[in-house]
Symmetry: C3
Subunit: 305 residues, 3 copies
Amino acid sequence: MGFNRKDLLGIRDLEKSEIEYILELALSLKEINARSIKKVPTLRGKTVVHLFYEPSTRTRTSFDIAAKRLSADTYSITGSTSSMVKGETLLDTLKNLEAMQVDVFVVRHSASGAPQMLAKHTPSSVINAGDGMHEHPSQALLDMLTIQEHKKRLDGLNVVIVGDIFHSRVARSNIWGLRKMGSRVTLCAPATLIPPHIEDMGAEVCNRLEDCLPDADVVMVLRLQKERQQQMLLPSLREYSTYYGINPARLKKAKPDVMIMHPGPINRGVEISPEVADGPYSVILDQVTNGVAVRMALLYLLAQR
Amino acid sequence: MGFNRKDLLGIRDLEKSEIEYILELALSLKEINARSIKKVPTLRGKTVVHLFYEPSTRTRTSFDIAAKRLSADTYSITGSTSSMVKGETLLDTLKNLEAMQVDVFVVRHSASGAPQMLAKHTPSSVINAGDGMHEHPSQALLDMLTIQEHKKRLDGLNVVIVGDIFHSRVARSNIWGLRKMGSRVTLCAPATLIPPHIEDMGAEVCNRLEDCLPDADVVMVLRLQKERQQQMLLPSLREYSTYYGINPARLKKAKPDVMIMHPGPINRGVEISPEVADGPYSVILDQVTNGVAVRMALLYLLAQR
Amino acid sequence: MGFNRKDLLGIRDLEKSEIEYILELALSLKEINARSIKKVPTLRGKTVVHLFYEPSTRTRTSFDIAAKRLSADTYSITGSTSSMVKGETLLDTLKNLEAMQVDVFVVRHSASGAPQMLAKHTPSSVINAGDGMHEHPSQALLDMLTIQEHKKRLDGLNVVIVGDIFHSRVARSNIWGLRKMGSRVTLCAPATLIPPHIEDMGAEVCNRLEDCLPDADVVMVLRLQKERQQQMLLPSLREYSTYYGINPARLKKAKPDVMIMHPGPINRGVEISPEVADGPYSVILDQVTNGVAVRMALLYLLAQR
């Protein structure tokens, strides 16, 4: 039982029992954020470095809030910062910071596998905060925590993930996690946005939203990056929106207790309509709240080793 | 009496008694900054987010110092940060951060009214740190605190504001504030830099500095943004400086106890000469010192609700 | 004895006894970084501002970690920040921040002498974190601490500095420091990268690595900035690397206990080969670790005055 790893690199690596342990801990830490004094001394004197080679507001701020509410000291190194510009290798940057006694590195990088490579070369802990098209484990954990809170379970559910599966590390981490927990995952997107062989991960594919929406307990809507249109993966945003956008008309065919999720930032009117994003089925802001709790749990587990 | 608002959006909204209350509290918090240990635990465990969509060194740092000296945790989100680039709406950015349990948002935005809009949609507190050409209430409060310290009163004074009134939220907030406190405000600038109907706010207009300077108890010099020349609002900086620049020769016609103020950053040699900026009438750095005290008072009042 | 200055501007100004005092203090503070709780309350309520007009990851982060591990509050102002863009003078920026009650300014600037000028005009302490081609005193102090740890002394050593001496403030600070401590310093580089009259500082010059490497107790390898090639100071990086790059073949002619140092960030394969950078003679990461300790000592000495 428990969680005895040095790093949190992906959901794929985790045992079901480890996921359960993290979620349970997150739930117990969550209430700190609801207090008037939202701070505990648990990680006082610990050093957390955010090493973000891709831009990010929400994930970095969420980790930063999580760290500071546990009283850790935090530092941010971003991709535009000088030593990268000066041509230092990623690993040299890490080793240098490590020599300043860092407990946890929170790493985001556009190259799939970068956090794994770093973790292998440092005794410090590494949390993958999103690597290329590979994994974004803290997102999947917060998604699972949110589903569990609303559905009281993580097994036996039908989860439909709609959108750009091809480029989505959020989708991949959720497929690994939800399959481990015993739920069914269906991926819905135009064929150009579904990666080949994705069924090998245990997910099913469905090209028409009409076919999979009625059975869904949970719909995860992915952000559609507008660049995809220029890359010829989509005929037009409008057509995408017509066939795959989640709007009130479409939700009429869904279960009455369907949950609508989105990892954010949302494109209102593209992949999700404002009525749905702000409506009664949406748990989008619950996801954000749970994000802080999950990241507190991860930092708690790793920084105290 | 006291101050029981959720937000501080503008001076226009405030009662005279509220202004007095804030200034009194600021004065009592000010001495913390003069201590050897410049920190009190008052806002420990509170979360303050600086949401700055316009660049700013001094205002953001002043709020940040104020927050940390009260032991709050602070986070900065700036206009170039990723989720804005990704096309998220301003309100979605706010709602997301709010879901991470933010006590106070300190907001600067180039659009007049943006902080007001945000305040309406969040239970968190919002402090307007400057919105477009509308208001910059913490600046007016620190200006009033500085005048009160030097003149021992805020009523019955002649305050002359010189410079680009048209684009100045500092001028607008000061007009509201000083009129409420019972002082006379005269605006002095070339006609192109005076907004129409500004007299409706209770201020007087004077186009020649020679006419209003002799009676002034306080002269607030506004920063002249060099871009204004390109916008054809000014014939040349040199001509502006000749007619409206505050220099020692001009001050010979002023009262012997005249106060020279400037919200900064100053353009030495344009709207103010170095001799005046660094001279005995200048209280420019007192304003900066009082800025921290006023912002401590505002955060104290709002974060503890 | 001890250290009773307001500022730390350069090694040139320091007495030998002051250097010894700082290194001794750094050594005693160093163990804080090895604790599980890496934090002491020594500088609680102190305000440290990083004023960095040149980009820097490692130096700024090192100072920031040093400050926070002593519990100071820190703020970063960088060259791209607004008030500089708005045309405020360097001194006005300093005076404004000083008015917010800053204990220590850590200043990096591309203009040689900038920190000295600022120090003269403020009662706050100023630490030079690198000014133009002039000095980088905290780097020389961490270099000396690292040499002392490995060689158990700082006198009677042969130190060879290899690389772009002309543009290097690191070289200059180390020459001042190592000469004061009683060691011999030899500078080795192509003639175009050796400044005229450098011998007046007490250093010797050697153009061929083969001539000075065999006697070296310590080799400090400087970063070669690739821009130098465009400035016609170097025929090609490859030629530089052939004649001055530190690689295993070359080290065969060195003493068996030679120390290889580098201030970083390193250009692998240019001035230093990966085998040497990661090899048994390299103390590059020890330098980084000692950097935090030295900066803790400096902040401790200056912030508590």
